[in-house]
């Protein structure tokens, strides 16, 4: 993981080659992250993968977090690693909720990292993020006829209320 000055150096280099692709950086508790423009996420990922001297050429994880009620709401996280130097960097793309049952969309990085295929399907499955250009964006863990995006924070927890004696006595 680059330290805070190293992160700023990386950002400067990307800014030189791909102006405007990185919006900000975040360095918190030793965790370095580049906040990327979601429309240009592939620019950032391709630069980090191919640039000599950096070569973060392995996508170890792609996941999504729902930051409700913050705005923009969804964060797509890309964990990149250079396996020679054992050095990691995190790229975040923040997506706003378009509302009206429309899905927030971002470009698929399957062409850059084939391992993203299943991970993007999982993100679609649980958060309803649409990955544009994904070869087969269908549900992967939940049943195909499932309705809703269950890991979103505004999705009802589900299950059934259980009336325990303790709760009944104290709160009933």
């Amino acid at each position: 993981m680059p330290d805070a000055p190293g992160l700023e150096l990386i950002r400067g280099e990307i800014e030189r080659d791909r102006p405007g692709a990185v919006l900000a950086t975040s360095f918190d508790r030793g965790q370095a992250a580049l906040i990327a423009d979601p429309e240009r996420i592939l620019d950032v990922l391709a630069w980090l993968r191919d640039e000599p001297g950096h070569r973060y050429d392995f996508l170890s994880s792609l996941h999504v977090a729902d930051y409700l009620p913050a705005e923009p709401r969804f964060g797509v996280h890309y964990e990149l690693i250079n396996r020679d130097r054992v050095e990691r960097v995190r790229v975040k793309a923040m997506l706003a909720d378009p509302g009206d049952d429309a899905l927030p969309a971002i470009d698929s990085c399957v062409d850059l990292f084939p391992t993203a295929n299943f991970q993007e399907r999982e993100a679609f499955d649980f958060f309803g993020i649409e990955f544009r250009g994904h070869p087969e964006l269908t549900r992967i863990l939940l049943p195909d006829d499932y309705v809703g995006w269950p890991q979103r924070r505004d999705f009802p927890v589900g299950g059934e209320p259980v009336t325990f004696t303790y709760n009944e006595r104290n709160y009933g």
Partner: protein, 222 residues
């Protein structure tokens, strides 16, 4: 009736005499009293059924470590109760242990396994998860397996000890010896819940399928 205790040697001798046809009169009476138990055919049949259960080799989640894996080992030894022959096919098994949480994606699979088993068949819901959803009160887990299939026995615990599973198993044996109805639809008054693979819309049977089914039920009643 007072039956005189005899030594093993004298019993062997009288058995030999009986086989030779030499046993007569009072000796023959005494031999029959010692050796023969009269009962009804159903009781004998249910006794045999309850002591020769073939469980399905099937595990859902962490409870599968306790059963069916632990209880067939030498320490707990389900073979003492006549159920050591675990079958890998539901068509050869007559007891299924739901050992763990049933997710909504797994529920149709479990139901299909149960439907493939031959009557008489018994379903045991083991542990809190398969009985009530347990701690998984969420979008992905069925809140109790008896929402989609009949359950003959619930074993509480998280997970139940193997001893608890064995105790539940002996309870199931007593249930079988109590001569319940052998078909689960009759046992749980579930006629009319049949699903039809082919036929009309919304799982309505076709006319031929309904007629064949009614005919089979009449035959079973007769």
């Amino acid at each position: 009736m007072e039956v005189e205790r005899r030594t093993l040697r004298s019993k062997q001798l009288s058995a030999r005499d009986m086989l030779r046809g030499d046993l007569e009169g009072e000796d023959l009476e005494r031999y029959v009293e010692e050796r023969v138990v009269t009962t009804t055919f159903e009781r004998m049949q249910n006794w045999a059924r309850s002591n020769s259960i073939f469980p399905l080799t099937f595990g859902l989640a962490c409870c599968a470590i306790e059963a069916p894996i632990s209880i067939v080992t030498a320490r707990y030894d389900l073979a003492r109760f006549g159920a050591e022959a675990l079958r890998a096919s539901p068509r050869q098994a007559d007891m299924i242990i739901l050992s763990g949480r049933v997710s909504i994606k797994m529920a149709p699979v479990v139901r299909r396994l149960y439907d493939q088993m031959l009557e008489p068949k018994w379903a045991v819901s083991m542990g809190a998860c398969s009985s009530s959803g347990g701690m998984f009160s969420n979008y992905a887990v069925v809140q109790g397996a008896d929402k989609f299939m009949p359950i003959d026995l619930h074993i509480p615990g998280c997970p139940p000890r193997p001893e608890a599973v064995l105790y539940g198993f002996t309870k199931l044996q007593r249930k079988i010896q109590g001569n319940p109805d052998q078909g689960w639809r009759a046992r749980y008054d579930a006629h009319g819940t049949e699903e039809w693979a082919r036929g009309g819309p919304r799982s309505e049977p076709s006319a031929e399928a309904a007629a064949a089914y009614e005919e089979a039920r009449e035959l079973a009643r007769a």
